[in-house]
Amino acid sequence: MDWEKLQHIDIRILYVIILVCLLIPMFKPIGLPIAISDATRQVYETIENLPDGSVIWVSHDTGPGNAPELNPMITALARQAFRKNCKIIATAFFNETVGPTLVYTHINEVAEEMGKEYGVDWINLGYRINADATMKLMVENIAEGALGVDWQGEPLDKFPIMQEVKSIRDDVDLLFVTTVGSPGYSDWMQYVAEPLNKPLTGGASLTMYSGLQHYIRSGQLKGFLGGLRGAAEYELLVGAPGKGCAGMDAQSLGHVTIIVFLILGNIGYFAAKKQRQQETY
């Protein structure tokens, strides 16, 4: 065989393979191995160890740019929570426009599938200006902090869930916060989780993730999900591979393709070099 040719494979073949590798998982996630990190496992177990029917506070504190990384986390969390018949109170304090909509659509999708009802099993309180002050108010009285309405402006009195859950201090069992900046995990830690001694977990964009490692080690965060990768690992633990895993499959296939081509190119390079040497002598 003429090994040299490996150096000059038609580049379009590489493009087609890359396209196919990225496309296949979009249609059907294959579930290539993803090593699950300790931090992700800890998130899953913290939630799994809650008693059935607990109340989980979800704050989707994200903007449009990082949303693709963090959305799959919310979907997977909703699945795990509803499976345990937990109730969800959702907020989104980072971004006024996309945050509340994203958290609604992603929880709603799972809720409809699992037969959970808005206002009974879960509710979305949306965005409030001045996050710190709102958090402090909600610790004692959620309705007061939310100004008495949900994200669409509907009065909270008419939702049964709000009869059961009055304050974070007495009624909420766990905080799940996604974070891309401020307001984010640090505010929830400072104003809610630490003073009330509530478990705090969630996920962060990949760029922020390395900066909060020491909180995970110190136990102030009960594990944390890092970027799309963390979301994919969490989806696997929950047993429902979705957007995160699809993205990971695509990335794995893409990276492997590049490396394979890189090796082929080098085989070709050395074959050509050897041949040149033989010709010289």
Partner: protein, 202 residues
């Protein structure tokens, strides 16, 4: 058909036209996309500048707020058109001179405020192996960029070579770590075609 659907179809066609370059560099689809883009970008730029910048500037600021000093830069800016009138080209160089001088002065006046903190950030304590390595790499890389000192002793040339090796590791790792983000760009475009337009995936 809704505007959104029409938009998605047009978006998908645009993607295919742009990506056709990968298949064959010289092809009519790509040429069309390229010239459309260049034309629209410039045309829109004219409209945008007039409506969003010039009209408010003249109406509200210069006339409304009586900020008449702005007439001077307006004249300087217009001088650039002198280059299209033979014999008066030299006037346009006043405008270029203002731009170049402003750019240089601005750089020298404002950039040090971002440069010095980077120097400060390099003051780390050498108590662990990572910090020692970090310090050594910074020093050999700075040494590599010294141009006019003769690097004729083994130590001097060796340090410079080490600096280059460190740079190669830095560049390689930067390349490897960005691949994921760039592959995601393709995924984003594929979603427009297969999810938003063709509804083949959820």
């Amino acid at each position: 058909m809704t505007v959104e659907q029409l938009g998605n179809i047009s978006a998908s066609i645009c993607i295919i036209m742009a990506w056709s370059y990968l298949w064959k560099e010289d092809n009519p689809l790509y040429n069309l996309a390229e010239h459309l883009l260049v034309g629209i970008a410039t045309g829109y730029g004219i409209g945008y500048t007039i409506l969003v910048q010039l009209v408010p500037r003249i109406n509200d600021e210069i006339i409304g707020n009586q900020h008449y000093s702005l007439i001077i830069p307006a004249i300087i800016g217009c001088l650039i058109y002198c280059r299209f009138f033979p014999g008066y080209e030299w006037l346009s160089k006043i405008c270029m001179g203002f731009w170049i001088g402003y750019g240089a002065g601005n750089h020298l006046a404002f950039n040090p405020a971002t440069y010095m903190p980077q120097v400060f950030d390099t003051f780390i304590n050498l108590t662990n192996i990572n910090n020692i390595l970090y310090f050594l790499i910074v020093i050999v890389v700075i040494w590599y960029f010294i141009f006019t000192v003769r690097k004729d002793t083994p130590v001097r040339s060796g340090a410079s070579q080490l600096g280059r090796y460190a740079l190669m590791i830095a560049f390689g790792s930067a390349y490897g770590s960005i691949t994921m983000a760039y592959l995601s760009l393709i995924i984003g475009q594929l979603e427009i075609i297969f999810r938003d337009t063709l509804h083949l995936i959820k």
